[in-house]
Symmetry: C2
Subunit: 86 residues, 2 copies
């Protein structure tokens, strides 16, 4: 049985992972990224890739899964920001 703390942690992880979805939808619809920080998304992307490496090394499926999803979402926003700068 999963204890109460792990349920809170799981909901927390779902929130901080899926939070990027509305931002992806917004940039995809508007193509406007002027107010988004390229530095933020670059550092975030590097951090998520490191979380992924960490997850693989300690063999944690939940860390791997959460960070694959977040990497795709943050990576998409990053591509739109870079495209918008050109």
């Amino acid at each position: 049985m999963i204890d109460q703390n792990e349920i809170i942690g799981l909901i927390a992880a779902v929130c901080t992972t899926l939070a990027f979805i509305p931002q992806v939808i917004k940039v995809w619809k508007t193509k406007q990224t002027m107010d988004l920080s390229l530095r933020m998304y670059s550092i975030m992307f590097i951090g998520i890739l490191l979380w992924l490496v960490y997850g693989i090394r300690i063999d944690s499926l939940s860390i791997i899964l959460a960070n694959v999803v977040t990497a795709i979402l943050v990576g998409t926003i990053l591509v739109y920001i870079i495209k918008g700068k050109q």
Copy 2:
């Protein structure tokens, strides 16, 4: 001694926490938040508060510290977005 995996995890945590700083600086300087998703920052803020609850319950100082810092950064961006909508 801290093992190599924990060093990777630590750098990952620093990146995904401090990534929000350039975005805070950007909204503070420009006061422009039109392209930022209110939904993203609302869900993210709730997620971080839940991480904080999780950290307190499992008594993890690093989870508590990281999420206090992130809550302040994300909370600041959220306030600017809400102000910008008024």
